[in-house]
């Protein structure tokens, strides 16, 4: 009896196909077998895990307090992994007191050291996982290990470390991130970096300032956005230095941050920024002027209504609508400006806020407005068109949609 290979050779050109059939059938069987085995294994594993988790949960307080000796579970890999997972999950929903208790437990049981050494000694996904775990603990002693993770060659690991530091939400973590950004530049995409910094700089935004002054343009742009998010009144005059910065992102950040500053000072600076050549700087300035809610900002907001950018006009209109006491004078000035786009933006904002009826009644009951002006204001409000272009026969909405089309 000849060998199997001999049989194939004799088969000639069909041998290849026959081999292929054998291979694919074996592959089919293997795939099916794998699915079957994996399902069975997982079902048993999860049943076992669930049972053990239940046992551990029954004595959770004793476990955390150390009444149950740590050695009873630390030496068993399955139990140790379970407890670690349960503690990390508990961190997610714990208040300050419970967090402190959990952290104390992690320290006393040596779990935190285990995570730190995992983050330091491993590479790839193991390191990645350890960094994520450290971030969830918010333990200050994890900061150096996380900072080392920022210098990993792998982007995913760097991102995990960055997110971990962000979760710490403390100035020490922010210092580490900023120090690393200072030496490595933008080694991660800007958004995760900004997110982490927003979380960790919220308590002390001042730490951003020295880095903002000395970093390169790309980093300054990213940090500028963070400053805009975290700035508080405490930064005060320090923000002013960025109002005439050469980088538009920083001017925008300054404009955004000025909404927290002392109103008189802020309006002075913002009134200049609403004329900035960059649309997003003007947008930030307009939004900040709106947030200040000062009548002194109204002329600048009206100026924003005739901006060349649609978003700036819309935000200016939304801000103006927030001055209910001044609605009639604002509307009068708006019509006097004779800017159709500005008018539409204001009417849109008015309708979104549901204040159209209120403006109408204020115009009707207004004593400082003469009858002729009242008629014009009401007509404009009704038709959405400036006096000279009013066509009473057209329906207001279709006119608005049609005119902007």
């Amino acid at each position: 009896m000849g060998s199997a290979f001999e049989t194939f050779r004799k088969l000639g050109p069909a041998a290849f196909v026959l081999k292929a059939i054998v291979f694919t059938i074996v592959a089919d069987v293997l795939l099916l077998g794998f699915i079957l085995l994996r399902r069975t294994y997982r079902r048993r594993y999860f049943a076992r895990r669930d049972a053990r988790q239940f046992e551990l949960r029954q004595s959770w307080n004793d476990l955390i307090s150390g009444t149950i000796p740590y050695a009873t579970w630390r030496t068993k890999p399955f139990d140790c992994q379970l407890v670690e997972t349960m503690v990390l999950d508990a961190f997610e929903v714990a208040g300050p007191e419970e967090s402190a208790r959990l952290l104390q437990f992690m320290r006393a049981s040596g779990l935190i050291e285990k995570c730190i050494s995992d983050a330091r000694d491993h590479q790839g996904w193991k390191r990645h996982r350890a960094l994520v775990a450290l971030g969830r603990t918010r333990a200050p002693e994890a900061i150096p290990a996380l900072a080392e993770g920022l210098r990993d060659r792998d982007l995913e690991t760097r991102l995990a470390a960055l997110r971990g530091l962000g979760r710490m939400a403390c100035p020490e973590a922010a210092e580490e991130i900023l120090h690393w950004v200072g030496e490595a530049g933008l080694a991660v995409p800007a958004l995760p970096l900004q997110s982490a910094l927003v979380q960790s700089c919220a308590e002390r935004p001042q730490i951003l300032l020295p880095y903002l002054q000395h970093a390169g343009p790309a980093v300054r742009e990213a940090l500028g956005r963070v400053l805009g998010e975290v700035a508080t009144a405490s930064l005060g005059s320090e923000l002013l230095q960025f109002a005439d910065d050469s980088l538009p992102e920083l001017r925008a950040a300054a404009a955004r941050a000025l909404s927290f500053a002392e109103p008189r000072l802020a309006i002075n600076v913002l009134s200049e920024l609403v004329k900035d050549p960059m649309w997003f700087v003007r947008l930030r300035a307009i939004v900040s002027l709106g947030k200040l809610s000062q009548p002194a900002a109204i002329p600048f907001l009206l100026h924003g209504l005739s901006d060349s950018n649609r978003l700036v006009r819309l935000r200016a209109a939304e801000a103006l609508v927030d001055f209910p006491a001044e609605m009639v004078p604002i509307f009068e000035q708006l019509i006097a400006m004779r800017d159709r786009y500005g008018l539409h933006a204001y009417l849109t904002a008015l309708e979104n806020a549901g204040l159209q009826a209120r403006l109408e009644s204020e115009i009707r009951s207004g004593k400082q407005v003469n009858k002729r002006t009242k008629t014009i204001l009401l007509e404009v409000l009704r038709t959405g068109m400036l006096p000279a272009e009013t066509k009473p026969s057209q329906k207001s909405v279709s006119a608005a949609v049609g005119s902007s089309s």
């Binding site: 694919t24 990645h128 991102l159 800007a190 933006a345 009417l347 089309s405």
Partner: protein, 480 residues
């Protein structure tokens, strides 16, 4: 003649081998990519994104044509999605039923004078409405132009967010789907211009109040086969193509795009048959011509559940339309083929689509004809033919089971043993006669396109709740 028949049989064999090998390579890439994605997710705090000021706002565009039965539930669910800042724009595309009136009543819509700049072309807009119940909801009432693309364009013109997400009104999004689909954008907002999510088959699952209650496999064979197809297409095909930045289709049922870019390419092409495929092709072209460093991504975990045809007639129409859509996009973009400026899109993705998607039914038909002729002329080796059929069958089954394996290893939506067993058995059953029928439907599509028959043929749908729960006595409605 005999020599020609032998040659064509060999070419057919080679074609089939290449096609399946291609899928095998894609399966390997997809398995690796999914594993990496799942590990990456561990460090991404989705919960934090929900409250972050850094997360960009999204406008959800929902084209609706005669959707009175499901529109309110669908909109309520969209407004309830986990995402910090969303705007929902429903586009009433000239509905002849009471879609607009129901929406007006349920969400207290009022006619507003909102700014509407028609950057993307669409049929005339009759009015813009805003909700008094939820200020995030806007409705655009427009005349119908008979295409979804036209309706989406109208919504695009009214959108005010940097990203738009197009969602079908008859689909069900999972609560965290938006957060998940935005993960690639949040990780790299400068380069990622568009992201597609996975679309899964809703039929058979239990849906309550527009929300997925329990995932089950459909009962009908024709629906289960489509589950296998969808798994293969999304979990293997799209995952692998996206890995090489060659993703050519982002499903019209669920995808996120950068608003400025969609506007820059003129929005959706109103007359396109496959408007989703067409848009992605034009985005690739636009960005490659500009020499931009960009990514079009696919994320396998943000799930959109959609109803698939449950009768042969509707399925035939859908597949014929898909084939027409394919030709409708590939033909105008033929100048991208093998041009260095279009990189891998021109040299790999498009040629693959031409050869293994568009021409597949023609080549398959040619193969069948030559085999018959070879048999008539007595030059067909019966044993070789039998072996070829067995090999083709077994190889294709490996790929299908591979997609089930991918599902098992990663997202595991079908938890019931019975469901998995059925899914696997349909991996074996789909090849006869479904595959042959599929070839005929696709050939019909090509023929219709070449004849200029571009008429939209309606599909029979059951609606969200009935399609999901398979309720007895539900009356199917004809919707666009």
């Amino acid at each position: 003649m005999i020599h020609f028949l032998e040659l064509s049989n060999h070419i057919l064999f080679l074609y089939y081998l290449l096609s399946n090998l291609g899928y095998l390579v894609m399966l390997t890439i997809a398995l690796k990519t999914s594993a990496a994605h799942l590990r990456r997710l561990e460090s991404i705090p989705l919960d934090w994104f929900k409250r972050s000021p850094m997360v960009p706002p999204i406008t959800i565009l929902v084209p609706a044509h005669n959707e009175e039965r499901s529109i309110c539930t669908a909109v309520r669910n969209l407004l309830d999605l986990d995402y910090p800042e969303i705007e929902v724009i429903v586009i009433n595309d000239g509905s002849s039923d009471s879609t607009l009136q129901i929406m007006q009543k349920d969400f207290r819509l009022r006619l507003v004078r909102a700014v509407y700049i028609p950057q993307a072309s669409s049929a005339p807009v009759r009015g813009l409405y805003r909700s008094d119940v939820d200020p995030r909801l806007t409705m655009v009432d427009k005349e119908s132009a008979g295409s979804k693309a036209d309706a989406v364009n109208a919504g695009l013109n009214a959108a005010s967010s940097p990203y738009v997400c197009v969602v079908d009104a008859d689909s069900v999004l999972e609560r965290d789907a938006l957060l998940r689909i935005m993960v690639p954008v949040l990780a790299d907002p400068k380069r990622v211009v568009s992201v597609g999510g996975i679309v899964r088959v809703l039929n058979g699952s239990e849906v309550e109040g527009g929300r997925m209650r329990r995932v089950r496999l459909p009962r009908k064979s024709i629906e289960v086969i489509q589950v296998v197809e969808y798994l293969r297409a999304f979990l293997i095909g799209r995952e692998a193509w996206a890995r090489g930045n060659m993703l050519m289709i982002i499903s019209g049922a669920f995808g996120v795009f950068r608003t400025d870019l969609v506007r820059a390419v003129g929005g959706y092409r109103s007359c396109a048959i496959g408007e989703d495929f067409d848009l992605v092709a034009r985005l690739h072209r636009h960005l490659r011509e500009q020499g931009a460093d960009y990514r079009i991504q696919f994320v396998p975990d943000p799930v959109c559940w959609t109803e698939v045809p449950s009768d042969v007639r509707s399925l035939a129409r859908q597949r014929a339309r898909w084939q027409k859509g394919l030709l409708d996009v590939l033909w105008p973009n033929r100048d991208m083929l093998f041009r260095p400026r279009y990189g891998t899109i021109g040299s790999l993705a498009l040629p693959y689509l031409w050869l293994f998607e568009l021409l597949a039914p023609v080549i398959e038909l040619g193969g069948i004809v030559t085999i018959i002729l070879a048999a008539c002329f007595g030059v067909l080796s019966q044993s070789f033919f039998l072996q070829f059929v067995i090999f083709g069958y077994a190889f294709a089954t490996v790929i299908s089971i591979g997609s089930v394996l991918q599902e098992e290893l990663t997202y595991k939506r079908y938890n019931d043993w019975q469901d998995v067993a059925r899914l696997v058995s349909y991996c074996f059953l789909e090849h006869f006669p479904y595959r042959q029928l599929h070839m005929i439907w696709r050939l019909q599509g090509l023929w219709q396109y070449l004849r200029g028959d571009l008429v939209w043929r309606p599909l029979r749908r059951q609606g969200l709740e009935s399609a999901g729960a398979d309720k007895a006595g539900s009356s199917p409605a004809v919707v666009q």
